[in-house]
């Protein structure tokens, strides 16, 4: 389980994908992003696990399977 703080972004790759860009610059793919988080520029802290058994059409970085999140802005 990891905790990541960063900004939510909509990445223009393929059909478009939600991502969390951490403060240290790592991009995580938010596959099945909760509706509440779908807001570009939103600052959040997300807890979850890296799912390395999943591949995606976007292939923008590790898939972060969210278990909980907190909006900071």
């Amino acid at each position: 389980m990891i905790t990541v703080t960063g900004l939510v972004e909509k990445k223009d790759i393929g059909m478009g994908v939600w991502a969390l860009v951490s403060e240290d610059g790592q991009t995580y793919e938010l596959l099945s992003c909760p509706k509440d988080l779908r807001q570009a520029g939103l600052k959040v802290t997300v807890s979850g696990a890296i799912d390395d058994q999943v591949m995606t059409a976007a292939a923008i970085g590790p898939v972060l399977a969210i278990s909980s999140f907190e909006k900071l802005s």
Binding site: V54, M55, A57, A58, A59, I60
Partner: protein
């Protein structure tokens, strides 16, 4: 006299036909406006009265070409060729006052779309372009020289499995053939798309082309096998993907495209990839979109061709992975440019042509060209990869491996694939490259013994094929023509007050030159033998091009003598019948053996 007239007629018709079909530089340009450039010394009042006359007589509205062209007196107005011809023939006064009046050609690329960071060029529809109305937007197909590749190859007979979010048979897939696939996400046979990604990717591979709808695809006669492993959200499990790879290999897919990535190394995936590779399947995957050094899985596995993306300018896309695992680069958009294909709108499923970017979009271009290479007869996956990588446009400076072997070139790839393959297509390519595919050539051939010439050309091809196959580094074109048939249409070329013998000479093969001056059909044993080409070979051995010419000449002469042996064994002083036949046969064999050894020596020398 009648024969002479007939020959002349045939020749003129041939030339006329060839010229009529010849698209010169001018006809390649399209124009919908006319530019008129008045003389610099013409007074303003004179120009104005001419402009008024143009307006009243021909109903056009001339305008200054730009604010800079006032001093140049350069005006343009809407009009086509008919109008231009009309003006030229009906307005002699105007012609006196102008420096030029001509089509205002639209050259090459139109203005870039201003709102984008990278120029995404829109192309003009040429006569040879497919009739898909939005083909002009597909810079990515122009970039890889798809049109030239389509002249010989469209990927027919090859099946490409698209492992993705599924593929929906949209409007612009009406002519694309599908083979049964599978939906591994929902475990059902119908593998329709509920995301839009997979249909777009499949469109790049084999969008129906020349169907007057939407856009074009790379290998549009290849079949699509839709395999859904990614959900509507765009993710899927390694186990489903591994399973789909095996499914594709078992169900006869020749190429697999995986526009997906992520996750860690997996023994399950590795095994599936090896399984498909051993079954002769070419596997292509996107390098990934993290802009990091090294491709993501699955592209980084052994036996997978990893594809990086470049934009409409040929620069690395800002998102594309690079470095280890990148084997080749293909158009994938970036810096504002997009790959244009038809797909479904995920909300409601309506078909739409949209521009997407990603290494996902680059991979199917490579998969399509791989299908073409296989369609040309190269079946081994390692050989297909070799052709893909050796036929690229190489990038001189690429220290970070942004492009792998280089940038995909469909046209060069199919040419390379056809080399070493004996096929109908290859024969025509050979005819074309050696100048035999020329209308005048065949047209006039009718009057000068077409059948033996055809046999000589065929014989030369067979010999050239053998030598090319055995000694690929030797090029022999000119010598082959001189040795086998000459520029034989020249024999029918007559001109008033000029002796015809020189034309007969040009129209003759070396073996026939001895009798060309005399103008009869009896072969001169001095010319119709291995003697001259052998002497030339000895003389020219030290000269690189000369040597190749001599080897070609030996082969061509061999073919010519062999055909004459069967078809017309008349040799001066030997009469006709068995004796000249033996003479010609022995010399033909001598020529061939000599050529074979010479080519072998030349190749060894070139490699040393």
């Amino acid at each position: 006299m009648r024969r002479l007239l007939l020959l002349c007629c045939l020749f003129v018709t041939g030339i006329g036909f060839a010229l009529y079909n010849f698209q010169g530089l001018a006809t390649k340009g399209q124009f919908d406006s006319i530019a008129v450039d008045f003389r610099e010394d013409l007074p303003k009042g004179e120009i104005e009265s001419q402009l008024k006359q143009l307006q009243s007589k021909f109903g056009v509205a001339p305008e200054l070409n730009s604010k800079f062209s006032e001093s140049d007196h350069l005006y343009t107005f809407k009009g086509n060729k008919a109008l231009l011809d009309q003006i030229k023939s009906q307005d002699p006064e105007l012609l006196k006052d102008v420096e030029s009046i001509e089509p205002n050609y639209i050259y090459g690329l139109t203005d870039p779309t201003p709102s984008k960071d990278v120029n995404e060029p829109e192309y003009i529809h040429t006569a040879s372009a497919p009739n898909d109305p939005m083909y002009n937007k597909q810079w990515h197909l122009h970039n890889i020289n798809a049109e030239q590749a389509w002249e010989t190859n469209k990927g027919s007979g090859i099946t490409v499995a698209v492992i993705d979010t599924g593929v929906t048979k949209t409007t612009d897939m009406d002519k694309t053939e599908f083979v049964p696939g599978y939906d591994f996400v929902n475990n059902k046979t119908n593998a329709d798309d509920d995301n839009g990604h997979g249909t777009h990717v499949a469109g790049s591979v084999a969008q129906s082309t020349n169907n007057s709808i939407g856009v074009a695809g790379v290998a549009y006669q290849a079949k699509i096998m839709p395999l859904k492993v990614l959900s509507a959200a765009g993710g899927g499990t390694v186990s489903d993907i591994a399973e789909s790879i095996k499914f594709a290999a078992d169900k006869g897919a020749n190429v697999i495209n995986m526009s997906l990535g992520g996750g860690g190394e997996s023994a399950l995936m590795k095994e599936a990839i090896d399984y498909a590779h051993n079954k002769g399947v070419v596997i292509v995957a996107a390098a990934g979109n993290e802009n990091q050094s090294s491709a993501s899985y699955p592209a980084r596995y052994n036996h997978i061709i990893g594809v990086a993306a470049f934009d409409a300018k040929g620069e690395k896309a800002e998102f594309s992975n690079f470095g280890a695992g990148v084997d080749i680069a293909a158009p994938g958009g970036g810096h504002g440019s997009r790959v244009w294909q038809e797909t479904i709108d995920p909300d409601g499923g309506a078909p739409q042509v949209i521009g997407l970017q990603g290494t996902s979009m680059a991979a199917p271009h490579v998969a399509g060209v791989a299908a073409m290479i296989m369609s040309a007869g190269v079946k081994d996956p390692n050989a297909v990869q070799q052709v893909l990588q050796e036929s690229v446009r190489k990038i001189a400076e690429d220290p970070l491996n942004h492009y792998g072997a280089g940038q995909l070139d469909a046209s060069a790839a199919v040419l390379m694939a056809a080399r070493g393959q004996i096929s109908f297509n290859d024969f025509f390519r050979w005819l074309h490259e050696n100048g035999y595919l020329n209308l005048r050539f065949w047209f006039d051939g009718g009057a000068v013994a077409l059948l033996p010439k055809i046999l000589m050309v065929l014989g030369s091809y067979m010999f050239a094929f053998l030598v090319r196959y055995l000694f690929p580094s030797v090029s022999l074109a000119t010598g082959l023509i001189t040795g086998s048939s000459g520029l034989f249409f020249m024999r029918g070329f007559y001109m008033f007050d000029l002796p015809q013998a020189p034309f007969r000479m040009m129209g003759s093969s070396l073996a026939e030159m001895g009798n060309a001056i005399a103008g009869n059909n009896i072969l001169n044993p001095l010319f119709a033998s291995a003697l001259i080409p052998a002497l030339l070979l000895a003389l020219l051995w030290g000269h690189e091009t000369g040597k190749r010419f001599a080897i070609g000449l030996l082969l061509g002469t061999s073919a010519c003598l062999a055909v004459n042996m069967v078809y017309a064994p008349h040799v001066w002083m030997l009469g006709d019948g068995l004796l000249p036949q033996v003479f010609l046969g022995v010399n033909a064999a001598l020529c061939f053996v000599l050529a074979k050894f010479a080519a072998k020596a030349a190749t060894a020398e070139a490699q040393a």
